[in-house]
Symmetry: C2
Subunit: 237 residues, 2 copies
DNA sequence: ATAAAGTCCGAACGAACGTTCGGTAACTAG
DNA sequence: CTAGTTACCGAACGTTCGTTCGGACTTTAT
């Protein structure tokens, strides 16, 4: 929930974006990561995530947003160049944060099964602590087009790949047989669906949820992987 | 006053909607379940589902829809009274169809585990055969407000309840211990997430997908339900 | 002090939105 | 045939949309 560094480059499209850099060469002090610009942008991004979460990207108007952020319509455009870029900034920041967190936590264990549990718990903890941003991630999954969409999709693929590797480690070490793709997408289904139903007043917190879903998923993968022959039942072709 | 509406009736709000019934009073010929009106409405609904699926409910314009349906903007309003009602008709019809199909198929078995597999397979088969409508169901989950929203939400609760009952049957018969709510929501996560990734050219068909997810889910539920302890029994592999 | 840069706003732009209205063909009933 | 209903459309309504522009106040640099 901290401010994003203002390294907001599109990476693509080198044009036209009003982008400020925080620590540009001027100042003597090496780096000031939080400029006024950065702090205000972070605040706007947070309000925007809430509005996009509530009304959807297309359903939310810039006027809704200006009301929520307590800033004039025109004033908003000081911080980004279009509504689309706003969505891009939210999605990119959210993905990068959760990936960084996962990578850090995964360093602490070498056991394949425990690493999968760590991955799940990290995802659930971040999801429940940042519900709005996570809903915007999944709900506006294919809203962004062109370069910005491709970039976010690439980051998402990284995240997917982390989980896939964890599962293939497990499979090798335990000598199991199952489709990693099907398993990882089932797991993502479980943990990404939570935003549609989780109610903090009735449902468990992230840690217990992670334990329950970890049990369910790992129990399923392990118990089936052991006895399974892949081309089993003749079935309909 | 004006006309439309047929077997897709709106049980809530008795006012203001243009209502028309299909087989009203007169026709002698045995069954005309399909009047011209009904057939045209069904066609429009199908086009609308595709457009809503592609661009989202808010992102889709009535002009997009009129182009897709090959009908003028004004002509569309002969069949429904607002864009919102259009979404309502799609969602209601989809839910009712999948529920009816599930109920019919479930009659054919009394074994709790097999019944869960039937439920999963029914859901996946319908989902893959009606991708657009299913995406509109889940993606525009909280778009509808007021009476129409409440009605769709009630139908959805029925569907959830069917699955919950199946799981509690399993738990009783097998003497397992697990949270039915967590289990059913995890299962829904798996099977509803499919629309975000399934590619018919690479991924298995509904039957094999249902087998795989049934194995995963039932394996997890059963193996964990038996030993209320943490996972990974110390037993040697 | 003066200049430059950064921050923010009121007002307006043209385009697109959902919906309505008056009318016109086509079909159906008697 | 005529009368009436059904199916549909062109054109427009009023509103809201994302975005822009010129200017003004505030902070920073010299």
């Amino acid at each position: 929930m901290r401010a994003p560094q203002s390294q907001f480059e599109s990476t693509s499209q080198a044009a036209a974006l009003p982008v400020r850099r925080s620590g540009n060469g001027r100042k003597a002090s090496a780096d000031s990561p939080d400029t006024r610009f950065d702090r205000q942008l972070a605040k706007v991004l947070q309000h925007a995530a809430r509005i996009f979460c509530d009304k959807g990207f297309e359903g939310a108007s810039m006027r809704d947003l200006s009301r929520a952020a307590g800033m004039s319509l025109a004033g908003l455009y000081h911080y980004f160049s279009s509504k689309e870029e706003l969505l891009y900034l939210i999605q990119k920041h959210t993905f990068e944060t959760i990936i960084a967190s996962a990578r850090t936590r995964l360093e602490k264990s070498a056991d394949p099964e425990e690493r999968i549990r760590i991955f799940i718990e990290n995802h659930l903890e971040y999801s429940l602590a940042n519900k709005e941003a996570m809903k915007v991630l999944t709900h506006e999954d294919d809203t962004l087009k062109n370069d910005q969409g491709a970039e976010v999709r690439a980051i998402k693929r990284d995240y997917y790949r982390i989980c896939l590797d964890l599962l293939e480690d497990l499979r090798k070490v335990k000598g199991l047989q199952f489709s990693s793709r099907l398993a990882v997408l089932s797991l993502f289904g479980m943990i990404n669906w939570i935003y549609t139903w989780h109610n903090p007043r009735v449902d468990p917190d992230a840690a217990e949820l992670a334990r329950g879903m970890g049990d369910l998923f790992l129990g399923g993968v392990v118990s089936n992987g052991k006895t399974k022959r892949k081309t089993s039942a003749p079935g309909p072709k």
